[in-house]
Symmetry: C2
Subunit: 195 residues, 2 copies
């Protein structure tokens, strides 16, 4: 059976990272997508594991040849998801999780075939504010900017097929596991010959 | 949150009854649909629990007023699912499971809004044959007729959103639970105000 591409978005502070880490640990044959980037490797980063490190010229060529499922230009560096790489992982039967912001997900939705779009949210912007403040790793100004981005991203929630509201972490993990398991039972994905 | 109507079909011998019993036992707020019928109550059967027992005249009136989600005429008796009864259970927040044959499910699909259609199948007709024979409760002729019905019903599998192939009972139960849980996270069903 071909793998499934799960495209997962959610604001910083919604708990997406923790949920993904827990769920993927218990799940066979599921891996994170590896992005291509023009930025230099940091100490310890491994080609093909953390990123595919490519030159600006190569990135531009790949944009022109529509090789990216989605791409973005951030802080003067380029980041993108290589369509062929994802496709080959799926063809080999692996499920792939792409943790990406709403702008990236919207690019994929434009040409979506059978990807599964999941949004992970905090119960409210106020709760998101509390969590980011409690974390204590960012300035008030930076937190305000994150909340602004979150507010903007939430306007697109209805474009996602599934919404997990992370009020209780273990329930949210169960919900993500259930979504991933149920998608495996979609008739349209199954090749069956029961007769 | 409004409840969900799960419409579940599958041939005799696929294990549908066992799976439903196990999954519903562990699931809060989920109940079997209660059918209306013209046949007489059997000893121990309770009105409103096992069936709604109604007269032929009332059944006919309800057919004419489109009160049934689906209905059938079997062995000279009528059986049907009352739309208003289901709707009121859903409105009160209960999930309802309707265990029904393909003909009944097809009637509901015609006017489907947001019901969830699930088919539970044995891995093959040969395996179904083995299971029905092993059960030992029916004549060879009756088993042959059941296999014929199953073959015919399987032609409609692709109209169901989900397919559970019951090869391993506990996996099949997990899959049904996952489908029921994941449907609760469908954005279209959720009323959310996260901003």
């Amino acid at each position: 059976m071909k793998g499934i591409l799960f495209v997962i978005s959610g604001p910083s502070g919604a708990g997406k990272g923790t949920i993904l880490e827990r769920v993927l640990k218990d799940r066979q044959n599921t891996e994170f997508s590896v992005s291509a980037t023009t930025r230099a490797p940091r100490p310890g980063e491994v080609e093909g594991v953390h990123y595919f490190f490519i030159t600006r010229e190569e990135f531009q060529n790949r944009i022109e040849s529509s090789s990216f499922l989605e791409w973005a230009h951030v802080h003067d560096e380029y980041y993108g998801t290589l369509r062929d790489w994802v496709r080959s992982r799926l063809d080999e039967g692996h499920d792939v999780v792409l943790d990406i912001d709403v702008q990236g997900a919207l690019q994929i939705m434009e040409k979506a075939v059978d990807e599964v779009f999941i949004f992970i949210a905090a119960p409210s912007i106020d709760e998101l504010h509390r969590r980011l403040t409690k974390r204590g790793t960012e300035s008030g100004e930076k937190i305000m900017r994150r909340l602004e981005v979150a507010r903007h991203e939430l306007e697109h929630v209805s474009k996602y097929e599934y919404l997990i509201i992370n009020d209780d972490l273990s329930l949210a993990c169960e919900q993500l596991s259930a979504i991933m398991a149920s998608e495996k039972c979609r008739t349209k994905r199954l090749e069956y010959n029961l007769i």
